[in-house]
Symmetry: C3
Subunit: 360 residues, 3 copies
Amino acid sequence: MSRLQILRKQTGHFLEDFVPGQLYRHKLGKTVTEGLFAAFTEFAMSTNPLSKNARYARAFGFDGLVCPPGLAMLVAFSQTVEDVSENARANLEYVDMRFGAPVYVGDTIEVETRVLGVRTSASRPNLGIVHVQSTARKNLGEPGEAIVLTWQRKVQVYKNDEAAETHAGEIAPDAVDCPLWLPPHQPGRDYKRLAHLSNADTYFEDFEPGTRIEHSRGRTMTSEHIALTAMLDNTSQVHCNQFMIDQDPAQYVGGQLIIFGGIPFVLCLGLSCPDIADNALGDLVYKTGRHTAPLFAGDTVFAATEILGKRELPGRPDLGVVETRLFGHKFVRKEAGSFEKVQIFELDRDVVVKRRSHYL
Amino acid sequence: MSRLQILRKQTGHFLEDFVPGQLYRHKLGKTVTEGLFAAFTEFAMSTNPLSKNARYARAFGFDGLVCPPGLAMLVAFSQTVEDVSENARANLEYVDMRFGAPVYVGDTIEVETRVLGVRTSASRPNLGIVHVQSTARKNLGEPGEAIVLTWQRKVQVYKNDEAAETHAGEIAPDAVDCPLWLPPHQPGRDYKRLAHLSNADTYFEDFEPGTRIEHSRGRTMTSEHIALTAMLDNTSQVHCNQFMIDQDPAQYVGGQLIIFGGIPFVLCLGLSCPDIADNALGDLVYKTGRHTAPLFAGDTVFAATEILGKRELPGRPDLGVVETRLFGHKFVRKEAGSFEKVQIFELDRDVVVKRRSHYL
Amino acid sequence: MSRLQILRKQTGHFLEDFVPGQLYRHKLGKTVTEGLFAAFTEFAMSTNPLSKNARYARAFGFDGLVCPPGLAMLVAFSQTVEDVSENARANLEYVDMRFGAPVYVGDTIEVETRVLGVRTSASRPNLGIVHVQSTARKNLGEPGEAIVLTWQRKVQVYKNDEAAETHAGEIAPDAVDCPLWLPPHQPGRDYKRLAHLSNADTYFEDFEPGTRIEHSRGRTMTSEHIALTAMLDNTSQVHCNQFMIDQDPAQYVGGQLIIFGGIPFVLCLGLSCPDIADNALGDLVYKTGRHTAPLFAGDTVFAATEILGKRELPGRPDLGVVETRLFGHKFVRKEAGSFEKVQIFELDRDVVVKRRSHYL
């Protein structure tokens, strides 16, 4: 055979590729299997019985086991990685992440992303910030079609060619109608006989603004993160390609594989679950959130939640909204026997919680 | 915001919390998904085709793939951990563990535990022994409701406050009716045409009391145990919180995460399966069992079974009961090239096995 | 009890056990669960939406999510390990591996193997080569019964007793009718509205014989391989028994657990997927393939594909066959900062790919 022509395909987009207003319809889509459901509901130590006990979930008016909000987020978010952030340096901020229809095993999630803004960096000419809005729908073209999640994020993206012109600009976000679906309260149902399946002290009435709950459990991450990230179809190489890092360790934080941010995101939700969301019927909105330090295999993750406020949920006297700020942290070893606490994650999170008055 | 009030919730119970006669209805419950089923049936190298091959399982009269007894045990047992043993020093003994209805994918298991006894330690005032009886039911309030497992165990539990009074005492166990469900033998069925799917030398007639079978395969455990334990909703921190251990390594055996006892329990069952249970239709009872040494990531587990005796199964001439003692062991490296064999587990186990006369 | 009689059962067969013409009907069989499906489709970073998105798969005429060819191969192949290669030194070659019916979640796969040839080694009297032909069927005795895979392989197998006579000889392979099932092209269907879910540059028209595509992603393997291999019921001890290796490290390549060859096989297929098989409807045949170096936990796997040729698929103007050679490689660290590229795998692979003219 004559000399072969070598092809190397570009994956993902670079700063100069993004144009405000442009819409990406992402590849693949993903059907939620029981394998995916089990791996992600459980690794994060989530405890809401809606995601554990089908009998409980059906009694509350859901069709069956409900994907925890963190899993819905991971499935949707990961589909945007190749187009939006495969060539990113960092995910800067999550903005206005709102949940809609519940996600069940068997649902197929597909996602599209609109580019809202592109901004170059004055100080670092090879970098800029891309602002996008993504929306995830389930079961397109089928009777159960519904929006399950919409969110914005800001990402720091590399340029491929430093000299290339960028499409700087910013447009307004689309108005995406994504109301949280909640099962109706049915006074005839004997909710009380299921009450022992969730924690007794996490009803709406139990939360006190001005308190901070240090969640009692920690969870050590291992190299399992590589498989978990692959299971989400997240293709970013900084999470799974150790050889790339070994060739130029100084280029990468810590000289090792960094854990995909979605993992600590969901793990913090899970660690906070027994104290915050055991009696939640859904997560309403994550107003803003960010990763503040990287996470590596071997780190143990802890979480804490501050109760910022409480409010009524219009039309639903049986429920209320608890306004929280979720924090994740880890400890970094200094000299012998000494550890420094490092915050890794922060999320402003409004949770819809049952009232004791109606369910107990 | 004004200064926050910090809350740290207690999880689990301490010695002084237990009262003989008291009943815990455990939280969560758990629906068996195909994800859970695959992870646990397979990691343990179990080989009975009832748990591998749905065609085979249906031909023998089951509804579909059957959870191996070890998986039914893990799902049920783990639900009792938070209430009974999250603050335990050690699980001392399993007693009279009896299996009932088979567990299938889709079944929801819920568990309750009665406190049978509380005893303080004369020599160690911060410790005592709690004796409990737990019962696991499936599909509560639905047509297929049934008891799937009942067992007792004795646990060494810490006191929270050394000065607190304990509720010493002991009551008799409840009589729990938990008969092993077995599919009927149907002479018209052509069982023989499926015989090649299980081992040919593990029928009732093949077992000789007075023999010890050294099972040929070993399996090295990795840090996968953290995820497996989380997948069971087992919340004990000694299995998953490395930071807790790093702060005070001398306090913990080996200064490392200890593998949840349910893992070697099930792994020993699996390693013994090709020689003992390939032609079993169910496990009848584990009369007594205990962990005799801890297991850590990196250890390779082996198993052996002594055949203690054989007996008829009343009303079932096609089956027989093989009385066995299952042992687990590992090897600990001493000087260069030298290893010490350490027993880690022991279980008295009665298995219901097909007779060659009726199935081959 | 009197002194126990110790039994150690032999597992697997040795060179002297194989007889040309003999048929093994393998044990177990395996029903594909959503747990198995998720673990294997995802770890390999496969990207064809037929295996990710049930809506897409149904629109193309499949019954639901389709097992990637690599998973069908792993499930079938692993069933042959105990009988054929548990006591093998090396798997020398895959030959004429042809795919038939698609494999779905819920299908039960059972496999049988005919011994085609036995040959002793002139230079190494304790070794020889066994040539076998295996065929995997699904849903035996049920309406959907079909052949899903047939293949030959050559394995280097140890003798148990060097003095034993072997059954040297060779017979012709059976003619196994295993046509690749392909969904019909239905001109009325609006395939185009799904086109964004797969890559736009991997239609039949896009492939140029004489090119080599270096696939852009790498994937680092971890000790996860032990659990993955167990999940396949592959019982070979060199993949999971570290103690066996620690006792005599010089006897084993690298003195560590070797990763089951099926893992890099499938991983290379997955890494090549976005460039080669994103618009494939099936893999037709793997004419020949082999492992050229071992893989260990910690290695990062890369893949490349050479386009050898293209041809028509008789009767299907909407499709074409792309003839490829798939390569896997890793990098081995030499002195500081220097790495050597080592080829680990090679597979001649004919893929059935959609034509842009009919689907876009």
